[in-house]
Each structure stands twice: as C-alpha cells, then as structure tokens.
C-alpha cells in the first residue's frame, strides 16, 4: 500500500509542475504588470524600472517562474499588490474561512447522497425512487445563486416568523461576534445547504446507478443466498463494491466545487477563497492570483490523490494492477 501511495504521489508531481507553468505563463502574459500596479502612486520616475528589477520582472520568463516556485516552496509568497498584506497570510486566512464550508458541505453531501442512493437502489422504480430522482434533477437544475437567495428568505425570515421566533435563527451573513459551535453552526448551516444541493443531487444519482448494478453482481447474490439480512447485503457488500464510482465523482467535483464556493461566499457575504479569487481578479492582483491558482490546483491534485488511495482501499485489485505487473 505504501509503495502504491508513493507511486501516486510521484505521478502527481509532474501534474502540479505542469499546472504551475500554465498558471504562471497565462497570468504573466495576460494579467496586469505587477510593477506598474506598485508604482502607480509613486512620484519617483524611476520607480517602474527599480521595482521591475526588485521583483525580477526584467529577467526571462523562465527565470521568473523558477524564482516564483522557489518562493512558493520556501514559503515566501510575496505581498499583495493591492493591500500590501502577506499573500501567505491572505491565502491562509481565506483557506481557514473556506475549509469549514467545503468540509461540512462534503460531509453532508456524502451522507445524504449515500442515504438517498441506497433508498432508491433498494427499490428501483418505486415512488420514493422516482421522487428522489425528480428532486435530484431539480437540485441539479437550481442555479446556486438563486437557491441561496431563496434559502436565505425562507430560513432567516419566513420560517422564524411562522414559528413566532423573534430574532435570527440561522445566519445569512457571518456573525463576527459569535463564538463556539452553536454560533458556527448557525452561521454555516445555510451556506453548507446551498453548496451541498447540487453535490447531493449529482452524487446520489451516480451512487444509485452503481449500487443497482452492484446489487446484481455474483458476490451479492451469494451473500443473499447465504441468508444475510438485506440491510447488511446492501450496506456492506453492495455499497463497498459500488463506491469506487462515487469516489471518482467526488474527486472530480473537488475542482468544480471552487465555482460553487465563489458564488456561495458571494451570496452569504463570507470571506474565503472564492471572495479572494474574485477580488484578486477584479483588482488585477497577480501577486495573489498566481499562488491562489497554485493552491487551488494543488487541492484538486490532492483530491485526486486521495481518490486513488481510496480506490486501493476499497478495491485491492487497484493496488496490484500497478506498472510492475502490467
């Protein structure tokens, strides 16, 4: 298993390098000149040249790239062109704000998707299965932005009024004064709900299809023939075998989640990676944009790496079928 993980990590490195080259070349070629941004308020006529030299922008692009990567690896991520704050600090703060949102959205989505999928797969074609199917299609069709506004109106205003509650129950904007798990839950519930809807809808359909197929497999028939209870058959034998499809989708959605985070953070006025991306793009802050894209790229690669490991854990044949035995 260790060798397998090591092999996947080594395979990820060139992917990351390639991604970093692409990010760097595209941003530097089409983005704003960092020296120009920094010198715009300077009275010093020689500022542009001096800053270009300071930032190494007068050197070939390849050398600049290597410098940038050295900085990324050693933790020196530079400073924002706009706010002059440390980029590492900015991205660290943004990650810390986004991590609970994404983490809880993944957990909630996984749990709900599996429960819905099992429920549908046990009785395909039943009323419940059709109902979940219709809900899933509706969930996939719901624009995140619109659903966010709808959820805010319902849960922060209409529902408390109907229940006769004076004051907010769930928050549509972060509570800067809130402390503790209850405050965190009230602040995160709605963004997590909004971010999860499309994930639950998509994942539950994938898992249901895979589970229906798995429940017709020989080993499941054998388990049933041995007299195991249906619940055990489904949850232990069926679910495990069908989970590889789910793992693939979850890993692929890790990248797509970035788009959802951008919209969700905007609707709920939350700071985080999405908000930071929007501001750095609109402000032409390439000093933030390049590390941001690298971190996002690394997150996607990491998600895929975790998926690879999960495959191996779920299905030992994956480990065996490495390059040595191919």
């Amino acid at each position: 298993m260790g060798r397998y993980v090591l092999r996947r990590v080594l395979v990820s490195i060139p992917v990351l390098v390639l991604a970093s080259v692409l990010v760097f070349v595209v941003v530097r070629s089409f983005g704003v000149d960092p020296a120009r941004v920094r010198c715009e308020t300077s009275r010093d006529a020689g500022c542009l040249e001096r800053v270009r030299a300071q930032l190494g922008l007068d050197r070939p692009l390849a050398v600049q790239y290597l410098d940038e990567m050295r900085g990324v690896v050693t933790g020196d991520w530079g400073r924002s062109l706009r706010s002059d704050r440390s980029v590492a600090e900015l991205i660290g703060d943004a990650l810390a704000a986004t991590a609970p949102l994404v983490g809880w959205a993944m957990v909630v989505s996984l749990v709900l998707a599996v429960v819905i999928a099992v429920s549908g797969a046990r009785r395909p074609g039943s009323t419940r299965d059709h109902a979940f199917g219709a809900l899933a299609i509706a969930g996939l069709a719901l624009p995140t932005f619109w659903f966010g506004l709808l959820a805010i109106q319902l849960f922060t205003y209409d529902l408390p009024r109907w229940l006769g509650i004076d004051g907010p129950v769930l928050y549509s904007v972060p509570d800067p004064t809130g402390r503790g798990p209850v405050a965190a839950a009230r602040e995160l519930a709605l963004p997590v709900l909004v971010l999860s809807v499309q994930l639950v809808a998509g994942w539950s359909r994938y898992q249901r299809a895979a589970l229906i197929e798995e429940l017709q497999a020989d080993h499941v028939r054998t388990a049933r023939a041995k007299g195991l209870r249906e619940r055990r058959v489904v949850w232990k034998h069926g679910l495990r075998g069908s989970s590889t499809a789910m793992v693939t989708v979850v890993a692929l959605d890790a990248g797509a989640l970035i788009g959802g985070v951008v919209i969700t953070e905007r609707v709920f006025s939350r700071p985080g990676m999405g908000t930071l991306l929007v501001s750095s793009v609109s402000d032409g802050d390439t000093a933030v944009l390049i590390p941001w894209l690298l971190v996002a790229g690394a997150a996607v690669v990491l998600a895929n790496l975790i998926a690879d490991v999960a495959y191996a854990l779920l299905d030992p044949r994956v480990r065996i079928a490495g390059p040595r035995s191919a």
């Binding site: 715009e40 308020t41 300077s42 009275r43 706009r82 706010s83 704050r85 703060d93 506004l149 805010i152 109106q153 922060t156 205003y157 529902l159 408390p160 229940l163 509650i165 004076d166 004051g167 907010p168 129950v169 769930l170 928050y171 549509s172 904007v173 972060p174 509570d175 800067p176 004064t177 209850v182 009230r186 905007r266 609707v267 709920f268 006025s269 700071p271 908000t275 501001s279 609109s282 402000d283």
Partner: protein, 555 residues
C-alpha cells in the same frame, strides 16, 4: 466617494422546526445586551457597512471612501467643525466654542480648544495637533487633497489651547479645514513616525467617543470593524459596550440581514422594491436627499472625452429623465433630474445650469460631424481610425448603478457610441482607479459639505498626477480657464453674499465645458430595526447616519 469638503420527511421537517425554535429561543439579535448599572456601557450592536475602507490614514489618497469616515473616522478622531443633519456647520466637541474669523488681510482663524479635550492616553489635545496635521497634509507624499491647507501660512501654537491659523490668501471654505473628511491627528504619537504605516490598518488612539477594540486588531479585514467606548472621552460617553460594523457589500444580503435581525441598522444604496420589503418587515427608515450627487464623470484626459464635442454629444445622447424615472423613483418613490453639481438643498447657490442638456439626437449629429466624426458601417462614430467607444465603471454589487449603466449604454448605442461596462470593488475604484485616472467614464456620487465651492473637484490645480503623487480630487482631469477662474474666486470670496455670483458663474462654466453630467441628488436610505436599537436616529448625508452613535441605545 467622499469629497473632503466639502412520513419521515414530514417528521424531519417537524424535527427541524422544533430545533429551530429551540435555537431561536436563545437567539441573540443584532442589538442585544442589558444595562448592568447606571452609566456602564454594555451590550453588542451589529451594524451593516456596505463598503469596506481601503485604509484608515484619513489624509492619504487611499482613504477616499466615505464609508471609512462614517464608521471609523468620525467615531474616533476629533474635528474642528462637524456637519449637522440639517447641513450646517457646528463646532465639534474638541472646541470650547465657535472659532473666530478675522477677514484680514491676512485672514486669521482662532480655534479655542476645549480644556477637557484629550486623547485616549490622557494627553491633552492642543494647538500642536492642529499644526502637525497641517504640516502632514502639505508636506507629505500621497495625500488625498491639500485644498485650503496650502493657503495656510502659519499656525501659532504658543497657547496650547488656542490654535491660531494665519492664511496667506483668503479661503472661504475655512470651516472645512480640520474637519470635513479630515481629522485632527495626535502629534505626540505620530511625530517622527511614519504616519501612514501607523494608521493605515487602524490605530489604538482615539480623540472621539469610540476607539478600535484592540487597536489594529479591531479591524478584521474583509469582515468587520469593532469599536468600544473610549473611556477617556470628555463628551457624551456611549451606553453600548461594543459596536460591530459588518461589511456586507451585496445589497440583497444586506437587506436580508436587516430583515432577519442579524444587523440592527444599515445605510444601503436604495434599490427598487427595498422600501416595500422594509415596510413588510416592520423596519423604520428615513429617505433623504442631501448633498450627495450622482453623476456620469468623464475623464477629460482620456479619449474620446478629451474632446469637448464628444462630452457634449454624450450629454445630449443621455436621457436623464428616463434614468431618474426608471432608477430613482421606483426605489424611493420620488426624485428629479439634478441640473447642477450644487444641489438644490442650497437654494441661494443652486443654478439649473445643465437644464438645456436633454436628449436631442439631432444635436448629437451636429456636434459629432462638426468635430470631424463620421458614423461607420456599425453605426458607431469614428474619427481618424478611432471609434467613439469607451468604458463606464462603477462599484460592483450595486444593482441600481448596474441598471443605470445598462440604460445609459442602450441610450448611447442609439446615438452612435459604443460603451463597455467594467466595474470594480468600491475600495479599488475610489482608492486607486479613479484617483489615478484609470477610467474613461465613471458612475458614482460625490458627498459634499455645506460649502458650495467646487474648485476642489474641478479646478486644474487639483488634478492628481503621478508627478504630484496623485494629490487632488479633480479626478475628471478637468482643465478649463473659465472653470478655474470662477471657482477660485468662489473659494477666495469670504463674504457669502458676494460669493453667490462666483458660484453661479462656476456652475455655468461647468455646464459649458461639460466636465461631467449630474444625474440626481443621490437618495439616501437609513433603515433600522426599532426593536433592537433606539436613540436619536437620523440621517446625516455628510457624516453618515452613525454620526451620533454614542447616543444610540439598545432595546
């Protein structure tokens, strides 16, 4: 923009409802707290701030956002003059009484400083603080605006409690000095230090009723600014223990936060349907139209607005009445086209100089062809291979402005102009892009003071350039001898009656040069939850609705 002067499912739902009710029972609304004992400040008040300031170094060019002054500046630092909700100058608490003016020459103003006035560390506020502030404004790099301060010849500090300011030339808007959107700074804490570095991200000192909680730590960038009472304040001491200004830049999110009680008050830009929502949510509000004017601002240094004919043609292509009817009236149920950059709230000075600019496509044709432009096959004017195309910028997240842009683009397209919309966050737009001239046309509002002078906004000596470190507020880069002459005269005429003529000439010169196009007096909307907050709640279009925050109470 500030102007310095100026089955299971059912069971699940039931369970969730019960859970919500349980949590709701312990829900803490935005304005929550109890008075522990007489005179002791307690409780937390959450307020919405629609824009986050770029920096808190109030005299620097990065501090061009009114919101910064409203939520932090006026709360923490003293000003010689404050502006009342009625739009009148009143001596600030830092003064023992009204300053005296000796017209001269030389013109001299004596500011009597209140004996009890002191900084939060106990150091008295003295004439040295006036002198330090003045020197910083005229001698430092990267200053927002130096208008008026360059007319000061000396400040006599021999009497610590009287600042005697001598001017090298008359300056009519002297009440805006050490006030407006500038503040008196603590010389004993800043002298010999890098003021910008000390202040730009927040500061621990205070000379006002509030101070930042934990100094710079009171500003959680991107989230909030937290204020607590300044225990050393000599005036009205706040009764609320903590005020949190939460940055909510999206109008819809702000409205929902208000309706649901997550924030107790807000000052949103009015949008269509907002008042109906506030009515339904039993919120109190007041709509005002004071000294803020929305307009299309043209960068005269950038093509195609470097041509007078184009500026005038664009004005004739604009149907301002339709914009007011579509944008302002649905939002606040009233509104009219503004015909000057001096608002009608000051009738003695107001002249409808722009009344002749109504939509007239024949005039557009005449002006453009007269200036050598011809329409291309795409219907857009072109001259010398250059098309009459430009960008229009405004603040992101403001639906009314976005709609105004769309309307304007449509109107101008019919008249042969190609307009691209390119917006930016408020802090970037007002902190960088507009001061540095990186725009062609922009849609925003200027917030003025009771002084009618507009030299600060339109005189050529106030054009921010790289050479002067982007000092000045003539963001449109207007350069016209007629404008300079009229508005400089208005600034130097101390006699209010004699000043009327200069101000009238200045307005006529602005309309003739089409420096920019006024749209409407920007309606303001101050909304609060009467179940959460009380006190003397009222709008102040210059200082913002939080100008008397120290007198607010929790309910």
């Amino acid at each position: 923009m500030r102007r310095r002067r100026g089955g299971r499912t059912a069971a699940g739902i039931v369970t969730m409802a019960v859970a919500l009710a349980a949590v709701g029972a312990s829900a803490v609304p935005a304005g929550a707290g109890t008075r522990t004992q007489a005179g002791a400040a307690s409780g937390v008040l959450r307020l919405a701030a629609q824009q986050e300031p770029f920096c808190a170094d109030w005299i620097a060019s990065c501090a061009g956002l009114s919101w910064g002054n409203w939520i932090l500046g006026v709360q923490t630092l003293p000003q010689a003059f404050r502006v009342s909700p009625a739009g009148e100058y009143v001596p600030g608490p830092v003064l023992a009484g009204a300053p005296t003016l000796e017209p001269g020459p030389p013109m001299v103003v004596r500011y009597p400083i209140a004996p009890a006035a002191k900084w939060s560390d106990g150091t008295p506020i003295t004439a040295r603080d006036f002198a330090y502030t003045w020197k910083q404004i005229v001698d430092s790099d990267d200053i927002y605006d130096t208008t008026g301060y360059t007319a000061i010849a000396a400040i006599d500090t021999s009497d610590p409690k009287t600042a005697v300011v001598t001017f090298s030339e008359p300056y009519a808007a002297w009440r805006d000095l050490f006030g407006g959107f500038y503040y008196i700074l603590p010389s004993h804490l800043l002298e010999g230090r890098d003021r910008n570095r000390v202040m730009k991200d927040g500061y621990a000192f205070s000379g006002g009723p509030w101070k930042m909680q934990g100094g710079k730590r009171g500003w959680d960038k991107g989230r909030s600014i937290t204020l607590v009472p300044n225990p050393g304040y000599w005036g009205t001491v706040p009764s609320i223990g903590k005020v949190v200004f939460q940055f909510i830049t999206e109008s819809s999110a702000e409205v929902q936060a208000l309706k649901s009680g997550q924030v107790a008050a807000a000052y949103p830009q009015p949008q269509t349907g907002m008042l109906d929502q506030f009515d339904r949510a039993d919120l109190d509000y007041v709509v005002g139209s004071g000294n803020s004017y929305e307009g299309f601002w043209f960068n005269s240094a950038a093509p195609p607005f470097d041509r007078l004919a184009v500026r005038q043609a664009v004005a004739y292509a604009t149907d301002r009445q339709t914009i007011v009817d579509q944008i302002v009236r649905p939002a606040v149920r009233e509104g009219r086209v503004l015909q000057s950059f001096v608002v009608p709230s000051f009738p003695e000075y107001y002249r409808p100089a722009y009344a002749g600019y109504t939509r007239d496509l024949a005039r557009v044709e005449a002006l453009m062809t007269g200036d050598g432009w011809a329409k291309g096959s795409d219907g857009v004017w072109a001259k010398g291979g250059r098309r009459a195309e430009f960008t229009i910028a405004t603040t992101t997240g403001n639906e009314s402005r976005a709609l105004t842009q769309q309307l304007w683009r449509s109107q101008l397209r019919q008249a042969g102009f190609a307009v691209t919309i390119r917006n930016a966050s408020a802090d970037l737009l007002f902190g960088r892009q507009i001061p540095e001239g990186r725009f062609a046309a922009a849609l925003y509002a200027q917030v003025g003071t009771p002084d009618p002078g507009l030299c600060v906004v339109f005189c050529s000596q106030n054009i921010p350039t790289r050479a002067n470190g982007f000092v000045g507020q003539n963001f449109t880069r207007t350069s016209s001898p007629a404008i300079d002459t009229a508005w400089t005269a208005a600034d130097r005429e101390v006699d209010p009656v004699a000043r009327v003529a200069s101000v009238a000439q200045g307005q006529a010169a602005l309309a003739a040069d089409m420096a920019s196009l006024p749209l409407f007096q920007l309606p303001t909307l101050f909304v609060w939850n009467p179940r959460q907050v009380g006190g003397p709640l009222q709008d102040n279009v210059t200082e913002g609705p939080f100008f008397n925050l120290e007198r607010w109470t929790l309910r």
